[in-house]
C-alpha cells in the first residue's frame, strides 16, 4: 500500500513540478503584481494598492470590455449559425460520412493557428481573393472592407473557434432519437417546427457547451485581433498584451488578467448551475 503510494508520487512528480513552476507560480506572481504600483518607466513599485482594479472600470477600458464581449458574442452566434445546418445535414448520413466530415473540421487544427490566421489575409484584404472575385463578377464596384476592422476579427474568431462549437452541437444533434423527429412529423410538424420545437430544445446544452468554449477564448485571442483587426481594434486579449509589452504597465496588465480569470470562472459556474458537466468542456 505504502509502496504503491510512493510509486504514484514518483510518477506524478514531474507533472506536479511542471504545474507549480509554470502555472501556479506565474499565477500567484500575476496576482501579487496586480496589487503593486508601477512607475513611469515600466518598473514595479512593491507597494500595496487597489488602484489597478479601479482603473479597470475606467470608461476607456469598459468600452474595450464591451466591444470585446460584442465581438466574442458575434463570433459565438456565427458559430451556432454554422454548426446547426452542418450537424443537421450530417444527421441522416452514414457513420462513415459523419466521421469523415468531423475529421475534416478538425484537420486544420493540426496547423498553427497563427499561420492559418495569416492565411485569411490573402482571402480578405482589399486585393484579396474574395474582393477580386466579387469585383470581377461585377457584383461590387469597390472592394469591401473585410479586414482591419471588427468584421475581420469576428471572421477570424469564428473560423478559429468553429470546431469547439461543431463538436458539442453535432454530437447533441446526432444523439436525438430519430423516432422523436418522426413523431413530430407524424403530428404535423414541418422542418421549421421540428427545428424549433424538437432539435433546439434537445440540443440546447450542447449549444451552451460550445458557446462557453467559443466565447471565452474569443475575448482573449489577441493575435487574431492583431492580425485581422490591423492593430486598431482592441479586445481584452490585446489590452493585456499591450499592458505587458507596449505600455509596460505590468501591474495593470496583471489586474486585467485576474479580472478576466474571475469572469471566466463566473461563466463556468453559471454553466455548472445550468446542469453542464466540466468533463464536457475538456472533452476535446
Amino acid at each position: 500500500m505504502k509502496k504503491n503510494n510512493l510509486f504514484k508520487f514518483i510518477c506524478l512528480t514531474p507533472v506536479i513540478v511542471y504545474a507549480i513552476l509554470l502555472i501556479l507560480l506565474p499565477l500567484v506572481y500575476i496576482l501579487f503584481l496586480s496589487f503593486c504600483e508601477s512607475d513611469s518607466y515600466g518598473g514595479i513599485i512593491y507597494h500595496f494598492t487597489l488602484s489597478n482594479y479601479f482603473t479597470i472600470f475606467d470608461i476607456t477600458y469598459v468600452k474595450i470590455f464591451l466591444k470585446s464581449s460584442l465581438i466574442a458574442l458575434s463570433s459565438t452566434f456565427l458559430c451556432i449559425l454554422i454548426s446547426y445546418p452542418f450537424s443537421i445535414f450530417l444527421r441522416d448520413k452514414s457513420e462513415k460520412t459523419r466521421n469523415l466530415m468531423i475529421k475534416l473540421v478538425m484537420v486544420p487544427f493540426l496547423t498553427n493557428s497563427l499561420i492559418r490566421t495569416y492565411g485569411w489575409i490573402v482571402l480578405l484584404r482589399k486585393t484579396g481573393i474574395i474582393n477580386s472575385a466579387l469585383i470581377n463578377l461585377n457584383i461590387i464596384d469597390h472592394p469591401l472592407n473585410l479586414m482591419y476592422n471588427n468584421l475581420g476579427i469576428v471572421i477570424g474568431m469564428t473560423y478559429t473557434l468553429l470546431p469547439f462549437m461543431i463538436l458539442p452541437v453535432s454530437s447533441a444533434v446526432f444523439k436525438i432519437d430519430q423516432s422523436l423527429i418522426e413523431a413530430a412529423r407524424d403530428l404535423g410538424a414541418g422542418p421549421i417546427s421540428i427545428f424549433r420545437k424538437i432539435i433546439v430544445p434537445e440540443t440546447i446544452s450542447g449549444v451552451f457547451n460550445g458557446s462557453l468554449m467559443v466565447f471565452i477564448p474569443a475575448i482573449g485571442y489577441f493575435f487574431i485581433a492583431d492580425i485581422l483587426g490591423g492593430g486598431k481594434a482592441m479586445i481584452i486579449g490585446n489590452l493585456i498584451k499591450n499592458q505587458f509589452l507596449t505600455a509596460r504597465n505590468w501591474p495593470l496588465g496583471s489586474a486585467i488578467s485576474i479580472f478576466l480569470i474571475i469572469v471566466t470562472f463566473g461563466l463556468v459556474q453559471i454553466y455548472k448551475k445550468l446542469g453542464g458537466k466540466l468533463d464536457d468542456l475538456g472533452g476535446m
Binding site: D177, S179, A184, A189, P201
Partner: protein, 355 residues
C-alpha cells in the same frame, strides 16, 4: 363499403433490388381493429410506415379515404402513429406532448386545453399534465402516447408494436383497454405486432405477413382454425403439420395417407385429386387422448410430458419416428412411456392446400 386505407400493388425496396415488400394489396375498413402480424423483419413495420408517410413506396399507390396520398408527406397525412418506444418529447410536459399536434394545426388555446383534457381523461391520466415523461412509468408513458395520437382524431391510428416494451401483466391490461378505447371512439386501428396472442385477443381482422407478402387475411377465428398456409399454421398457436398424399376420394370425403401409413379423412375440395401432395394440420387440443382403447384409434406411446396447470402438453410417438403434439385436459395423469390411444376426428383434420 369503401376502405379507409388502401394499398395498391405496393412494393418497397431499400437497397437496390432487395424488396422488403412486394406487390402488396391491403384494404382497411372504417372502425376495424386490424392487426398486421409477422415475425421480425417480415416488413410489417414498413407497411405501417408507408401508411403514415414516414416511408415512401418504390412502386404502387397509397390511398387514405378517397385521396391518393402516395406523394403526400407524413406531416400532411391524417393518420397518427404510436411508436414502439412511445417517442414522447422528453423536454415537454405531458400536456405539451399531447398538445403538440394540435399546436402544429394552429388550434385555438381553449380548444387545445379542452381536447387535451378530454384525451387525458380517456386514458385515465388526468392530473398528470405537468409531469415530464421521465417521471412516468412505462404504462403511463404508453397512455400519453395513445392520448397524443387520439387527440388528433386521425382517420386511422397506427400502432407499432406499442405494447411490446411493457411487462406481461401490464400488457394484458393494456390490450383490453386498447380494444375498449377503440370501440368507444369508433376509431380505425392498425396494429403491428409479432405477438400472436396479442393479435388473437384484440383484432377484428388479422393480416399475416411473411417475407413482404400476405399469407392470410382473415378473422382471428378463421386464422386459428383454418390456416391457409403451413407458415400460418405453424406461426399461430401449436400445431401438428403432416405431409400426406391423397389416396382416395369417396363421395365428399378425401382419404390421405401419411408417410407412416396413417389414414386421415376430411371434406372434399373441388381441386383435390388422387395423387396430390397436401399438408395436414391438426391442433393438439383437437386430438382425443385416452389410456383405454378407442374405436379407430391410433396406438402410441407418451414421449414427453409438460404439465401446464389447466392442460398437459404431451408428445406422443405413433409408429416409428412419427410424433404428435397432444394437449390433454382434465386430471388424468400421463407419464412418459405410458401406452395411449389417440383419435383424430374428421373435423379436426385441416387440409392446407398450398399452390
Amino acid at each position: 363499403m369503401e376502405p379507409i386505407v388502401k394499398l395498391e400493388n405496393v412494393s418497397k425496396c431499400f437497397d437496390e433490388g432487395k424488396y422488403v415488400i412486394k406487390n402488396l394489396d391491403l384494404e382497411i375498413f372504417e372502425g376495424e381493429f386490424l392487426t398486421i402480424l409477422g415475425s421480425s423483419g417480415c416488413g410489417k413495420t414498413t407497411i405501417l410506415r408507408i401508411i403514415s408517410g414516414l416511408e415512401h413506396v418504390t412502386e404502387g399507390k397509397v390511398y387514405i379515404g378517397d385521396e391518393d396520398v402516395t406523394e403526400v408527406s407524413a406531416e400532411k397525412r391524417e393518420v397518427n402513429t404510436i411508436f414502439q418506444n412511445f417517442a414522447l418529447f422528453p423536454h415537454m410536459t405531458v400536456f405539451e406532448n399531447v398538445a403538440f399536434g394540435l399546436r402544429m394545426r394552429k388550434e385555438k388555446e381553449e380548444v387545445i386545453k379542452k381536447e387535451v383534457k378530454k384525451a387525458l381523461d380517456l386514458v385515465e391520466l388526468d392530473g398528470f399534465e405537468e409531469r415530464y415523461p421521465d417521471q412516468l412509468s412505462g404504462g403511463q408513458q404508453q397512455r400519453v402516447a395513445i392520448a397524443r395520437g387520439i387527440v388528433m382524431h386521425p382517420k386511422v391510428l397506427l400502432l407499432d408494436e406499442s405494447l411490446c416494451s411493457l411487462d406481461l401483466k401490464l400488457k394484458r391490461m393494456m390490450q383490453i383497454e386498447l380494444k375498449k378505447l377503440q370501440k368507444k371512439l369508433g376509431l380505425t386501428f392498425i396494429y403491428v405486432t409479432h405477438d400472436q396472442d396479442e393479435a388473437l385477443t384484440m383484432s377484428d381482422r388479422i393480416v399475416i405477413i411473411e417475407k413482404g407478402k400476405v399469407q392470410q387475411d382473415d378473422t382471428p377465428q378463421n386464422i386459428y382454425q383454418y390456416p391457409k398456409t403451413a407458415f400460418v399454421a405453424d406461426f399461430i398457436g401449436e400445431s401438428n403439420l403432416i405431409k400426406a398424399e391423397i389416396t382416395g376420394i369417396k363421395g365428399n370425403t378425401i382419404h390421405v395417407k401419411t408417410k407412416n401409413k396413417i389414414t386421415l379423412i376430411f371434406d372434399k375440395d373441388e381441386k383435390d385429386k388422387v395423387g396430390n401432395k397436401i399438408s395436414i394440420m391438426i391442433r393438439p387440443e383437437n386430438i382425443k387422448i385416452s389410456k383405454s382403447a378407442l374405436q379407430d384409434g391410433l396406438k402410441g406411446e407418451v414421449k414427453e410430458v409438460i404439465y401446464d396447470g389447466v392442460i398437459t402438453k404431451l408428445v406422443v410417438g405413433v409408429g416409428n419416428a412419427f410424433k404428435l403434439k397432444v394437449t390433454a385436459k382434465g386430471n388424468v395423469l400421463f407419464n412418459v412411456s405410458d401406452e395411449v390411444y389417440l383419435k383424430i376426428d374428421k373435423g379436426s383434420v385441416i387440409p392446407i392446400r398450398e399452390k
